[in-house]
């Protein structure tokens, strides 16, 4: 009884904060998704109209399509690239901590600063096109071309995020017993075989975890698009959350924006549940 009271005491403040700043707004947004709320005028109940409208709205369909494309570019890279980096920085070498810090450094830079830096580098007359011109390639309008804009944004996300996921893998790798690698070496296994048959199976739960986290983060990405492209050119980089922002704060259509948010929430929930099922089937 004494322990329970103390536990509730410790939990009460975080629970209260969670309730006030997460649950109540989420419930309010869910209710508003069935209305025409625009801040200034009386609310009218619309039933499922906002949800029906979303599935007929070209802007929403385009935004979802862009979000899925962006996710398919970002998540595989963020699942795979950090594994390689983590394996590299897991070596017992002198000064390896400096390399770990260097790879982690982009994570420490704010998204807005990262976005502005890369916006300048991707500019028509930016440094990337300058280097390309040195090796005989013509400059590319990275952020002003509908074909290249999403890959460019995905690249920036991977550049900034791989250090973060590298740390997860590194922690997981350090839990893999050295004896397994030593036995494999005695059996004649090379670098690739060791990692394919020992490292990957041993860190599989972490791979699933990274897949889930990076999926959620890809579906929620917003700042990069807002800062680098404002969704352009011609909505080629408008993602679902950017559309929510535009509908809510530029068109003042809070009800519709809330409906889009909940559609997005359901999609992320489904993907997370699928990942969870897969994880349950492959616990180790």
């Amino acid at each position: 009884m004494y322990k329970t009271r103390h536990a509730w005491g410790f939990l009460s403040i975080p629970l209260l904060l969670l309730f006030v700043f997460t649950f109540i707004p989420a419930i309010a947004a869910f209710i508003l998704s069935f209305t025409n709320y625009n801040v200034f005028q009386p609310i009218e109940w619309l039933g499922l109209d906002n949800y029906m409208r979303a599935f007929q709205d070209e802007k929403f369909i385009n935004a979802m399509f862009n979000t899925v494309k962006y996710w398919l570019m970002v998540t595989p890279a963020l699942v795979v690239v950090p594994i390689f980096v983590a394996v590299l920085v897991n070596q017992k070498l002198r000064g390896i901590k400096i390399f770990r810090l260097i790879f982690y450094f982009p994570v420490l830079v704010s998204v807005v600063v990262t976005a502005l830096l890369w916006k300048w580098m991707f500019a028509q007359e930016g440094i990337i096109n300058y280097f390309l011109s040195l090796i005989g390639f013509e400059g590319v309008g990275w952020l002003i071309n509908s074909t290249t804009v999403l890959p460019a944004l995905a690249f920036v996300t991977v550049w900034q995020g791989f250090g973060y996921y590298m740390l997860f893998y590194l922690a997981s790798l350090q839990g893999v017993p050295d004896a397994l690698y030593e036995s494999a070496e005695l059996d004649g296994a090379g670098f690739w075989k060791k990692h394919l048959h020992i490292t990957i199976p041993m860190i599989k739960p972490m791979i699933f975890f990274v897949a889930v986290i990076s999926t959620m983060s890809a579906f929620k990405e917003f700042t990069l698009m807002l800062t680098m492209t404002k969704g352009g050119p011609l909505d080629a980089s408008t993602t679902a959350v950017l559309l929510v922002f535009e509908e809510a704060f530029q068109r003042l259509d809070m009800g519709y924006a809330s409906a889009i948010s909940f559609i997005l929430f359901i999609i992320i929930l489904i993907i997370t549940l699928i990942n969870q099922k897969l994880l349950d089937k492959n616990p180790n």
């Binding site: 329970t4 109540i24 028509q124 309008g141 002003i144």
Partner: protein
């Protein structure tokens, strides 16, 4: 070790309680809103004589400004003190907010029922929230001062036939140009018209590699300047799908294909300030108050630059681009708020602010001050630009559409033009597509 059991009944009660609080708050707010709106017309009419009204004003007035502090601290504090001295029972508080957060701050304030009494807003946002009944009708509340403003600028706050904001300060374009680039291309003066500008651009591009005229993302301004109306007279349908627009856009497309202007600026990926400061463009037509950005980026380029008259299109008019002051329809001190809005925008205060901020006053008396007839021969680009911009003020017209979704309509036209440039969509198809979109938005 005890385990926790979730108390579902308690959770459900809390959730229902939260929902009840939420809806109660909304319904109270709506009831108040309706009550306020109902009394608004009467209140506004009562206020027609504003700050020289017969009753003593009282209450608290919150004034929200945009990115004016700390640069204009003295001016703003002076306004507050002067108004409070005239009306001892009124307390004014001034809150300055960053430019890019204005709309979010207004929305969060409105949703919590704390909209500032007096707000500095841009004309498009005025229309958006005025159409939702959030602002006081200034045609009624400020009828006594209406004639002191330039008509074309007064009308920029108009929606559905009524004006909902007082113009505070405005800009019309001047021109900043780089005489070195012009001289290298064999010119000794900047262009006067768009037609001349494009002809010169060809020569400048060939001889120097720099750009001359650059199309910025403001097709909704370029079209009226060339005599093309965006909407019909009663703002019920698109009116721009005409042969003149086809001709204009076809010309622009050919200029782009000839490399005469970069697409980056049109897509908001590069700022004109950067291009001009790097001497990649020969001139830039904009409000003279923005010339100082060139001075910040490249003092040497600014030093050799000169100011000139804005370019004229076929219609021979310039666009007025004012910053407005609006009063919340839900203000608890509406009389005092309207009086303060009129006080801020009177000729004396506008003139003082215009002198400090290199902007132009939308009030005729202030604009006629000799300050604005000086600078024609100044070596300083801003001073000379301000002279020409002030001259253009008299012919400035309202190019802002009289509809609430003006931003979406402008964007639809911009997108159609970008499709012509970027995706080679035929001009006729792009215009038809934009026309259909705009007509859809107007329904």
């Amino acid at each position: 070790m005890k385990t926790f059991k979730l108390n579902y009944k308690l959770l459900l009660t809390l959730l229902l309680g939260a929902m009840l609080v939420f809806f109660t708050a909304c319904s109270d707010e709506d009831a108040n809103a309706n009550q306020d709106n109902a009394s608004n017309d009467n209140g506004a009419a009562d206020n027609a004589d504003g700050d020289n009204g017969s009753e003593a004003l009282s209450g608290e007035v919150e004034f929200m400004t945009i990115s004016l502090r700390p640069a204009f601290d003295d001016y703003l504090d002076g306004l507050k003190e002067a108004f409070e001295a005239e009306h001892p029972d009124v307390t004014v508080t001034i809150n300055d907010v960053p430019y890019d957060q204005v709309e979010q701050i207004i929305l969060t304030s409105a949703s919590s029922g704390n909209l500032p009494d007096v707000m500095n807003l841009n004309k498009d946002f005025v229309k958006k929230i005025a159409s939702m009944g959030a602002l006081v009708n200034m045609d009624e509340a400020a009828a006594d001062v209406k004639d002191t403003f330039f008509e074309g600028i007064w009308e920029t706050g108009e929606i559905d036939g009524s004006v909902y904001a007082l113009p505070w300060y405005t800009t019309t374009n001047g021109l900043i140009y780089n005489p070195d680039i012009l001289a290298e291309a064999g010119f000794d003066a900047p262009p006067k018209t768009y037609e001349e500008a494009w002809e010169m651009s060809k020569v400048i591009y060939e001889k120097t590699g720099a750009y001359g005229e650059v199309i910025q993302p403001e097709m909704h301004i370029l079209m009226p300047k060339n005599g093309i109306s965006i909407l019909n007279e009663d703002s019920t349908a698109a009116a721009f799908n005409i042969p003149e627009t086809v001709e204009l856009w076809t010309d622009y497309k050919s200029y782009y294909e000839d490399g005469l202007f970069p697409i980056d600026v049109l897509l908001k990926q590069t700022e004109m300030t950067e291009l001009y400061a790097q001497e990649k463009v020969a001139w830039w037509a904009t409000g003279p108050q923005l010339f100082r950005y060139i001075k910040d980026l490249s003092p040497e380029v600014y030093e050799k630059s000169l100011g000139g008259a804005p370019l004229e299109g076929k219609a021979g008019v310039q666009a007025a681009n004012p910053m407005n002051i609006a009063v919340s329809a839900k203000s608890k001190s509406k009389d005092a708020a309207v009086a303060f809005a009129k006080f801020v925008t009177n000729a004396e205060n506008q003139l003082e602010f215009a002198k400090e901020a290199s902007v132009l006053p939308p009030v005729i008396d202030a604009a006629n001050d000799e300050f604005f007839s000086q600078g024609e021969d100044s070596e300083d680009a801003t001073e000379r630009g301000r002279y020409y911009a002030a001259q253009a003020l008299h012919d400035a017209m309202n190019m802002s559409l009289d509809v609430s979704n003006v931003t979406e309509i402008n964007q639809a036209i911009e997108d159609a033009f970008v499709k012509v440039i970027l995706e080679d969509l035929p001009v006729e198809d792009a215009l038809a597509e934009a026309e259909a979109t705009v007509n859809g938005l107007l329904q």
